[in-house]
């Protein structure tokens, strides 16, 4: 994101809205974006309504108010002068928006945002089948963001166990070699709000992969949201529960359930 200094009146509303906290007040009293840390999510641009006031008028009012020791307090969800300006992004910086802005269709998946369908359409795709589990490793979430160099560290640690990376996943598509988990050098310095490493494992290998993840988590300077999924058994029970508990981890009370109402229903015997 960029801020038009001709328009900015330094109200500071965009500072709090910024998901990465990268906007601050510059020496000249106008807001500035730390471009290294900005993930191009565009929340500031979408959320702050442009009030279309003339910058000179807002500045004059502020100066006048300051004479009487009064402050100018804009509503929290406005940019009084429309100073926020989304730039035209070129590769590899454009990758930031692909992963961070959910209103952007990711070219690799055809879906909005950073994610994939994972179990949400498992009833029709058969992505996860009997005896399999999906491990979903979301780097940078919640609210911290992640550089691709950190994402690569985790991907490489999982690849050492011969991870089966989901081919339709946007992180997999950035890899030069899914056998090693190596990510293209040209994107390693890019930062995203979050990115999901998605792999498929045999149920009995869940402990092994969680152990690898537990080890590599100490090597990254970001947070990781971890999820595990599987196809339910005919009685509705969840097969991965047993293996996660064996590995010594606690399962959340809440989670995601695919009701199985999609059609045509995927039948494993047809595969």
């Amino acid at each position: 994101m960029e801020i038009d200094k001709e328009k900015c009146v330094g109200c500071g509303n965009c500072h709090a809205v910024c998901t990465m906290g990268t906007i601050s007040l510059d020496e000249d009293g106008k807001s500035i974006v730390n471009q290294d840390q900005c993930v191009e999510c565009s929340v500031c641009y979408r959320f702050l309504k442009d009030e279309r006031y003339w910058p000179w008028m807002v500045r004059a009012i502020r100066r006048l108010l300051s004479v009487f020791r009064l402050g100018y307090l804009a509503d929290v969800d406005v940019c009084p002068t429309g100073a926020l300006t989304p730039p035209v992004l070129e590769w590899p910086r454009s990758l930031r928006a692909m992963f961070s802005d959910p209103t952007t269709i990711h070219p690799g998946t055809g879906l909005y945002g950073r994610g994939t369908e994972e179990i949400k359409s498992n009833d029709v795709t058969g992505r996860l089948r009997k005896g399999e589990a999906g491990l979903v490793v979301e780097m940078g979430r919640p609210g911290i963001g992640a550089f691709l160099w950190d994402i690569e560290k985790v991907a490489m640690a999982l690849a050492r166990l011969n991870a089966d990376f989901e081919t339709k996943n946007p992180v997999t598509q950035l890899m030069t070699d899914t056998g090693t988990g190596k990510i293209k050098d040209e994107v390693l310095k890019e930062k995203v709000l979050s990115a999901i490493i998605e792999i498929k494992v045999k149920l009995e290998r869940i402990p092994e992969f969680l152990q690898a993840l537990a080890k590599v988590q100490n090597e990254v300077d970001t947070v990781i949201s971890v999820g595990v999924a599987s196809r339910c058994l005919p009685d509705g029970s969840i097969p991965h529960e047993e293996w996660v508990r064996k590995a010594g981890y606690t399962l959340s009370l809440n989670g995601k359930t695919n009701l199985g109402l999609g059609r045509p229903l995927f039948k494993e015997t047809e595969a």
């Binding site: 309504k49 179990i119 498992n122 999820g227 969840i238 809440n254 009701l259 999609g262 059609r263």
Partner: protein, 220 residues
């Protein structure tokens, strides 16, 4: 996308937080799915969700949104969501969705045991399920509990920690009511999975001093 998987909170908060959403799959049932998506949202809307949205069109808390027009404009592809605050209503929604037989994948995020029971009562067996294993890595960078609880109500991470803290401060200073502050936060969440009622209740507790600045409940 794992956007509703990691919602934080205790069981008593999570009991008032269910996200019903649909997904289509390219090459299987996405093409020409707009009428089914619109019908899905009509059914959800009939049961008065606390929030609704679609990544492409935004959520119903955005300025000037007419819900009927919003539903009519839903096209194929992008997932659509509705948030409910009680399981009885979710039960009715699920039963009507089964009757409608839309052929698109329907998912629910919420307490897994409760959703399983909901499926049983509706005469279906859940197909697949996903758990969160929590937050790993540099957890020392995470904020206080109440900020995290509100932040994770938007799975795409569109609500910054700093905006939540600002809303907390405004509520404490009575510049905003908890309801108004929760609705402002809801506007950030593009796809509409944010539960403004949960956020409002939490902000109300903070206003009354029932949650201390350290982020720990007085009762705990």
């Amino acid at each position: 996308m794992t956007n509703t998987l990691h919602r934080q909170g205790k069981a008593e908060n999570l009991k008032n937080d269910y996200v019903v959403f649909m997904t289509t799959a390219a090459g299987i049932n996405r093409e020409g799915s707009a009428p089914e998506i619109q019908e899905f949202m009509r059914i959800c809307h009939k049961y008065h969700p606390i929030n609704m949205g679609n990544v492409k069109l935004g959520n119903i808390y955005k300025d000037g949104v007419d819900v009927q027009e919003f539903i009519a404009n839903l096209g194929e592809g992008a997932g659509s969501m509705a948030v409910f605050t009680d399981l009885d209503t979710v039960q009715k929604v699920v039963e009507e969705l089964i009757q409608a037989d839309l052929g698109i994948s329907i998912n629910i995020s919420g307490l897994l045991d409760e959703v399983r029971e909901c499926c049983r009562k509706a005469g279906i067996t859940r197909h697949s399920a996903e758990h969160s294993l929590g937050f790993w890595g540099a957890r020392e960078r995470l904020p206080e509990r109440e900020t995290l609880e509100i932040n994770t109500l938007c799975g795409h991470g569109m609500i910054s920690f700093n905006l939540i803290r600002k809303m907390v401060e405004y509520v404490k200073l009575r510049r905003l009511t908890p309801k108004k502050a929760a609705r402002i936060l809801a506007k950030c969440c593009e796809c509409g999975v944010f539960n403004p009622e949960r956020a409002e209740k939490l902000l109300e507790k903070i206003k009354k001093g029932e949650v201390t600045p350290s982020g720990k409940s007085v009762e705990a």
